[in-house]
């Protein structure tokens, strides 16, 4: 069975501080990992996926297969980063995705 765990439901940091949103997963095959973001009054949208190895809006995430983690990081948080973040997993060959419970990030001025 595939499972995604986001241990923090709420995370609050000050503007300019580093931020890390944790994600751990369990999956028996080769996973594909994603981070999705939902800003206030907007639809849920893809932020980044591990295969593309991009930095989006200053965020990065590295897949650590040894620790089965895919933590989302940003060195200097901005107020506009305040949102709900979901970590998600699917098999490399497609199929359904499993989402974590989400972390609400608040960046205080």
């Amino acid at each position: 069975a595939q499972r995604v765990t986001q241990p923090e439901k709420l995370l609050s940091v000050f503007k300019g501080a580093p931020v890390e949103l944790k994600c751990n997963y369990s999956y028996s095959g080769s996973p594909e990992l994603f981070w999705y973001v939902q800003y206030s009054r907007q639809r849920l949208q893809l932020l980044l996926r591990h295969i593309s190895r991009e930095s989006i809006k200053g965020f990065t995430a590295d897949l650590n297969k040894g620790e089965t983690s895919f933590h989302l990081k940003k060195p200097f948080a901005q107020e506009e980063d305040s949102a709900m973040y979901y970590c998600a997993l699917s098999g490399l060959h497609g199929g359904k995705s499993t989402f974590g419970d989400g972390t609400t990030l608040t960046v205080k001025p």
């Binding site: 439901k9 594909e32 994603f34 999705y36 639809r43 849920l44 893809l46 995705s97 989402f99 989400g102």
Partner: protein, 111 residues
């Protein structure tokens, strides 16, 4: 730009009513999904479909059914709505790679 359109943003229904939630995507995606989003519970998959007339149960299918008669349209049906089905419902579609594109959501209240 991929567009996933859910027919209603808000719905209010009474207990026992049959409820239809409609979702249409315009990118010829094979896969379509229905989730419910509840505070503290994240996104939970209700049903998904890999192709026309094909459907698979997700994690919480009880009390729901789906229909996919055309590739672009995926309907979620609540046969007899109950108060515990009050929630935000999200539709999504995807192709390969498995990036999901979401609709704006339908907030359903069952009274």
């Amino acid at each position: 730009d991929v567009k996933v359109t859910q027919s209603s943003r808000y719905l209010v229904k009474r207990t026992g009513e049959k409820v239809f939630l409609e979702c249409v995507q315009d990118m010829d995606h094979e896969n379509m999904f229905w989730y419910r989003q509840d505070p503290g519970l994240g996104l939970r998959l209700i049903y998904f479909s890999y192709d026309v007339k094909m459907k698979e149960k997700g994690d919480i299918p009880e009390g729901y059914s789906v229909s996919r008669e055309k590739k672009e349209r995926f309907s979620l049906i609540l046969e007899s709505a109950s108060t515990n089905q009050t929630s935000m419902y999200l539709c999504a579609s995807s192709s390969n790679p498995n990036i999901q594109y979401f609709g704006a959501g339908t907030r359903l209240s069952v009274l």
